[in-house]
């Protein structure tokens, strides 16, 4: 493998960069993957007839759905991929993994570092952020829709924040590398611009903003022209691969585009009119000597879309570009359109130690054929997506105590304003038994109040789950964000996590405002969704009216209202004329009063709600089953989906459009 052959020389000049890119001291040559659906990381090594699994990590959460919802799944676009680097400078590479709650180092001397704040949808880079010669962690997280970059130094007692700076706008990528040839590593943050950050004394400043067309999906840093200096390779929605090369001249420093590919859509799609605009996106970039000519080649994974007449030309494709030895890269090969499961990342590395790199897309391994083309030569593993390729030793799990919150008992993370709920957390401890766990729950503002927020769990077994005692949560009115701060302490470790809540509007009440318009809106919903309209006449202060609303939150009655009705709650004060139009008896003795309308606005039911009271009261209570039976009498006949589908399909064909059919349910 070429990279390995020249590694000794390059380490002298670009040691930090090479370490971050995974080329370091020898170890087991493995492919690291994210196994789906177990969510555990696995490592695979090329053997005689295929690949053998040499390691499987303990799943970092115990629940597949939880993992899927976090950036811990590596098989998806934009995920935070593991990094191979000798982080602890013990002479052996490590596997560094970011998850929302911490950073794990798997290696000869594994360790775990809780993050001081949760990192959802975050990215990780490694570099010397403070100039002390040691690699530090740099994370990029999204906070309030914009990116925040923060650097952390590792200490025996945990992470210490070195610096933090916000960036403008949303960002999806963060990579590191020396891109100006001064021996220091820069950071590149990307989405709809490429931002290069550079260390100047203790601070990190923006050194350059490189405009890009569309958005960027892939960025790599590599010396693709072998001039001893790295270039920046980037691509995305523009459908082109661009190479930016640092230039220092009399007018200052810049990163002009040194080379740009043609538009990477399938040739049949380019230059043909009348078939709609073809699109191509560069999804992933890998650099390695896949051709065996001792020069770096570039492998690009694209995602393309377009149609030619009735022919669907959408696909993923792999393309190989080779350096011509002067200044140009020439496309030497493109895969056939790969319909079906699209890969989301391509990686290059010498998997079989024959001196020539292979490249892996998804789980397929591609090698150069004697004829100069490339062909799939098997699969790494049956159900996985390759994340990184690197030289790694036997990997070990940390022995650190780690407790992460898996779930809470609050359904959908929602609470209704004015409501009080008893809430518990389910905790998970992946690596060992966690003893004397204390969870402290608090709220940063008055929108939520917490009672009994200190929860004690004597022990959580290794890879086990335990539910905490409950704390009491009450939601109040307020414009501030609803958030709970959770601190989990176990032994000497502490994890601080924030949980955002959705505070639902309080239970509805009766209102006279815009009543005609509200009824009209309900009728429109009824017509569109084949429902009935229920008008409930009462008053804001009427205890029976409130009790009726409470009853409507129960069991089958709540389902009937959700499924079959658009409900309008009308305050009778000032609504007499409208009530008489619907022949509703809104005298105080008759309240609450129910009017059922069909979708055309015709009254099909008229009834004092007192008929459904559970007793004589006070206080007023309602028999939700009786009321449900009454309302079900007016349930509309359900329509047949098939004729609607046929009609929509016919319309789409006639208009030369596509049918966008989506399935949902009232809930």
């Amino acid at each position: 493998m070429r990279v390995r052959a020249i590694s000794a020389a390059l380490v002298l000049a670009f040691g930090a960069v090479l370490a971050v890119q995974g080329q370091g001291p020898p170890g087991s040559r493995v492919v690291v993957v994210a196994a789906d659906p177990s969510t555990a990381l696995t490592a695979w090594k090329a053997g005689g007839s295929g690949f053998e699994q040499v390691w499987r990590g303990v799943p970092r959460t115990a629940d597949e759905n939880v993992a899927r919802r976090r950036s811990e799944v590596f098989g998806s676009a934009g995920a935070a991929w593991p990094i191979v680097a000798d982080v602890d400078a013990d002479g052996s590479n490590d596997l560094v993994v970011l998850d929302p709650y911490g950073i794990t180092i798997y290696g000869r001397t594994p360790s775990y570092y809780p993050l001081p704040v949760t990192h959802e949808n975050a990215k990780l880079a490694l570099l010397d952020a403070d100039g002390d010669g040691a690699l530090d962690f740099v994370t990029q997280r999204i906070q309030g829709g914009s990116a925040v970059i923060e650097a952390f130094r590792r200490t025996p007692t945990g992470l210490v924040s070195l610096w933090s700076r916000p960036l403008t706008g949303y960002r999806t990528l963060l990579v590191s590398g020396d891109v100006d040839g001064d021996g220091q590593t820069e950071l590149i943050s990307a989405y709809d611009t490429l931002t290069i950050l550079k260390r100047r004394d203790a601070a990190w400043d923006i050194a350059a903003e490189l405009p890009v067309a569309g958005t960027v999906s892939a960025v790599e840093v590599a010396d693709v022209d072998r001039d001893g200096k790295n270039e920046i390779l980037a691509g995305g929605a523009s459908g082109r691969l661009s190479i930016f090369r640092f230039r220092k001249g009399s007018k200052g420093q810049s990163y002009p585009v040194a080379w740009q590919s043609a538009f990477l859509a399938t040739p049949e799609l380019v230059g043909r009119g009348g078939v709609g605009p073809p699109s191509a996106s560069v999804f992933s970039i890998a650099v390695g000597d896949v051709s065996g000519d001792k020069h770096p080649d570039i492998v690009v994974l694209t995602s393309e879309a377009g149609r030619l007449g009735d022919k669907d030309l959408s696909s993923s494709r792999l393309l190989v570009f080779e350096f011509d030895g002067r200044a140009d890269f020439v496309q030497k090969w493109a895969s056939a359109q790969a319909a079906g499961t699209p890969a989301v990342r391509v990686q290059a590395g010498d998997l079989d130690d024959d001196g020539v790199a292979e490249f892996v897309a998804g789980r397929e391994v591609y090698r150069r054929t004697p004829g100069g083309a490339y062909a799939s030569g098997g699969q790494v593993c049956p159900s996985c997506a390759v994340g990184v390729i690197g030289s790694l030793p036997e990997l070990r799990e940390p022995v650190a105590t780690r407790v992460v919150p898996l779930y809470w008992s609050l359904a959908n993370g929602m609470i209704t304003q004015g409501d009080t709920a008893d809430v518990s957390f389910t905790l998970y401890s992946p690596w060992g038994e966690a003893k004397d766990v204390t969870v402290t729950v608090s709220s940063p503002n008055a929108k939520l109040t917490v009672a009994n927020g200190v929860l004690s769990v004597p022990a959580i077994p290794a890879s086990g789950r335990v539910t905490t005692p409950t704390f009491t949560l009450t939601a109040h009115e307020g414009k501030e964000p609803a958030q709970l701060d959770v601190e989990i302490a176990s032994g000497g470790t502490r994890l601080k996590a924030s949980r955002a809540l959705y505070v639902a509007a309080p239970l509805p009440t009766y209102d006279a405002a815009n009543l005609d318009a509200r009824i009209a809106q309900a009728l429109a919903i009824a017509k569109d969704e084949n429902r009935r309209v229920l008008i409930q006449w009462s008053g804001k202060a009427d205890p029976a009216g409130k009790a009726l609303i409470q009853a409507e939150t129960k069991g089958d009655l709540s389902r009937t209202l959700l499924y079959e009705y658009a409900v309008v709650r009308a305050d009778v004060a000032g609504s007499g004329a409208i009530a008489s139009r619907y022949k509703a008896n809104v005298k105080p003795a008759s309240l609450p009063f129910l009017t059922v309308l069909d979708a055309q606005g015709r009254v099909i039911g008229s009834q004092p709600a007192s008929a459904f009271m559970a007793g004589t009261g006070p206080p007023a209570t309602f028999d939700d089953k009786k009321l449900n039976e009454y309302l079900l009498k007016f349930k509309p006949e359900y329509v047949n989906a098939e004729p609607l589908f046929t009609e929509a399909l016919s319309q789409a064909k006639k208009d030369q459009k596509t049918l966008f059919m989506w399935f949902s349910a009232p809930w």
């Binding site: 998806s76 959408s314 949980r499």
Partner: protein
């Protein structure tokens, strides 16, 4: 989809049809006809004029994206649009993606 910035863009290329799986006769059968795996709802599919599914909301890697909210789900939804768009431009697809991000950031609990 009914938002004023979204509906006109979708109308350029699509005839839309909402199927209530629970309240339409045969709705579930229609779902089964196109959904090869049971990944829950919302679930959606783009269908050509001959009734063939062009692409579904089942991301081969992560499963049904449902209402696209997470980054990977939004990325896949954009990919779906890229695959079926005829008149919708790449810029409009990016805008739709950003509108999903904005919607998620203000509405969904994390």
């Amino acid at each position: 989809m009914a938002l004023k910035d979204v509906a006109p863009v979708l109308a350029k290329d699509f005839v839309t049809l909402k199927i209530d799986q629970d309240r339409m006769i045969g709705g579930n059968d229609l779902l089964k006809r196109y959904a090869k795996v049971q990944g829950g709802i919302p679930w959606f599919v783009f269908i050509d004029g001959d009734g063939r599914a062009i692409i579904t909301s089942d991301d081969p890697v992560n499963g049904n994206v449902g209402f696209p909210a997470q980054d990977s789900e939004i990325a896949y939804f954009k990919k779906m649009l890229q695959k079926v768009a005829k008149g919708i431009t790449a810029e409009e697809i990016e805008t739709l993606g950003k509108s999903l991000v904005a919607f998620r950031d203000v509405t969904l609990p994390r």
